[in-house]
Amino acid sequence: MAKSSLDKKFDQIRKREEEKTFSTKKRSRIVNKFLNNRLAVLGLIIFTIIILASIFAPLLSPYDPMRVDLRSMRQPPSFDHWFGTDSTGRDVFTRVLFGGRVSIFIGLGSAILSAVVGIAVGCYAGYKGGWIDVIALRISEIFMSFPQIILVLLLVSITGQSLFNLMAIFILTGWGGMYRLARARMLSLREEEYVQALRSFGLSTFTICYKHMLPNALSPIMVNITLSTAMFILTEAGLSFLGLGVPLNIPTWGNILNVAQDILILQNYWWMWGPVGIVISVFVLCVNFIGDGLRDSTDPSQQG
């Protein structure tokens, strides 16, 4: 019987063990597993590059994303304009970089803030139970029973377009998922004996649930934050594409895409929407890879 690759790996490990040459590097198992996940590492690298590029946008591009230059309208990609220029002569590459700042800010910011709200409510309600829990649960159910996109459209049309309105709406519609996750974790942690021990000392609810229990609930929440970052970036892009997201004068990935509404541009000027579309997809894909990698590496039932 031919030896399978697993068998060969086993032989190697056993040989090392017998020669006592196994690596004794002390690295956490979670980090190890994450680093062994190639997609996640690739995701993390591209993610970092895109974020750094957005942060240092002014250093990377000589142009102003807002400046109209009528002499260089609709130019295809060239050495001067890497992604070409748009209908008003603005450099698309610069706009993608600056747009990334706003888009990532919205995505990450909404994800973190909705997590903060969700965790704050979920931890307390999950640990305490009783009427607070019932009320919070019902409210989150109400939010979750509307199709999210319609709710967002509705709220945008009521409150009007602005960056902070958009974030507020994202938080309002997004905290429910976080709340439920945090609550579910707390419900199971509540039965752990160390929590009972803390209660037997009569420590305050606040200390027990936010200081002692929350750190143990964080790993699934972190995974969820990365995944919802991706979701918020996509929603922002979708809304801005429809013209309902961030006001059009601020460059965001969605607003850059907005020009593709024009059939003429869609057909003739691919560089105005192609690169930004790819950047959005790649970024979201990377965030999802990181999220999956985190989930696998923090899951103790999966061996690495």
């Binding site: 490990i13 061996q303 690495g304």
Partner: protein, 337 residues
């Protein structure tokens, strides 16, 4: 050795290693024993000593990141001898042996039954696969099995779901499932650890009955010396992947010769000896399997440790049945003469 035909299963120099986190854990490191028909072999040891892994190896139920390294598991099926370790893990032959010739019951009866199927269905699965009975016969067999296990109203109970069974009844249903095809060997992995003592007594009574009536060989895995004293015909004491002492219950319990066995017996309070009995804890704790002591695994915790213990002692046959893995067994065994 005794008459060969009496031996249902014979394990020789079995080694099973686990490979996780790029390290190798020698969970079972050279274990040999025989299981006789109609006898109970108790494998005793603390958690992490490799007793459950031994059982899983015999059933070929090991996880992916582990494998059988060396050794033989010879199973006597009718007149043939089958080498289990050579069979493919999920091959046809292994599946035929599992359940019909060698059956296993597990520690936690609460999770070992599937909650979405009736108990009767779960027992009949086994019969459907391994026998040629028709539907009606299978159902009758299920009912009679439950009846044998002492479950009241088996005609009604057979169609119920596990949640309406209590812990003790679930364990009986598990045993019924295991006994469905009259296995030659029953492996019980801590079958009563999760149960109350009064229920434990019921299960023991049942296992004793099965052994006598069906001539089943039982491998009972436990950590409780009390259980050993009650049920075992033969005993094997395991520590860190090795059998350190083996023999009949009489040999091991009355004349413990390995320091570990002795210490194990002295460290539990015995009911009826009152408040003034002396219990002697074993010093230290079980070593990290990735950082094992050199030589005798028990040496660092042993009160009689000497330099010679830096070499792993060989198994010594003290008499026909009693064997021990210790350099200094003589000084203990002297006392019993």
């Amino acid at each position: 050795m005794e008459n060969k035909n009496n031996i249902a299963l014979s394990v020789r120099d079995l080694k099973t290693f686990f490979y996780t986190n790029n390290r190798c854990n020698k969970a079972v490191n050279g274990v040999s024993f025989d299981v006789e028909k109609g006898k109970t072999l108790c494998i005793v040891g603390e958690s992490g000593c490799g007793k459950s892994v031994t059982a899983a190896t015999i059933m070929q139920l090991l996880p992916t990141l582990s494998r059988i390294e060396e050794g033989e598991i010879k199973f006597q099926k009718d007149d043939k001898i089958i080498n289990i370790e050579k069979l493919e893990k999920n091959g046809k032959e292994m599946r035929e042996i599992r359940g019909s010739d060698i059956a296993m019951i597990f520690q936690d009866p609460m999770t070992a039954l599937n909650p979405v199927y009736t108990v009767g269905f779960q027992i009949s699965e086994n019969l459907k696969y391994h026998t040629n009975l028709n539907k009606k016969e299978i159902r009758e067999k299920c009912i009679s099995l439950l009846n044998d296990m002492g479950i009241p109203l088996p005609e009604k109970r057979v169609d119920e779901y596990p949640h309406s069974y209590s812990g003790g009844m679930r364990q009986r249903a598990m045993i019924a499932m295991a006994m469905a095809c009259n296995p030659k060997i029953l492996i019980a992995d801590e079958p009563t650890t999760a149960l109350d003592v009064t229920i434990q007594a019921q299960i023991f009574e049942l296992m004793d009955k099965l052994k006598k009536e069906n001539d089943t060989a039982i491998i009972l895995i436990t950590h409780d010396m009390g259980v050993v004293a009650e049920l075992a015909d033969n005993v094997a004491v395991m520590y860190m992947g090795n059998i350190v002492e083996a023999g009949t219950a009489d040999d091991v319990l009355r004349r413990p010769t390995h320091p570990y066995t002795k210490a194990l017996l002295e460290s539990v309070p015995v009911l009826g000896r009152g408040k003034n009995q002396d219990i002697n804890p074993i010093k230290g704790s079980t070593p990290d399997p990735y950082n094992r002591p050199i030589g005798c695994q028990f040496a660092p915790r042993c009160n009689w440790q000497t330099e010679s213990c830096d070499v792993m002692p060989e198994i010594t046959q003290i008499n026909e049945t009693h064997q021990v893995r210790c350099h200094k067994y003589e000084q203990f065994f002297e006392k019993y003469k």
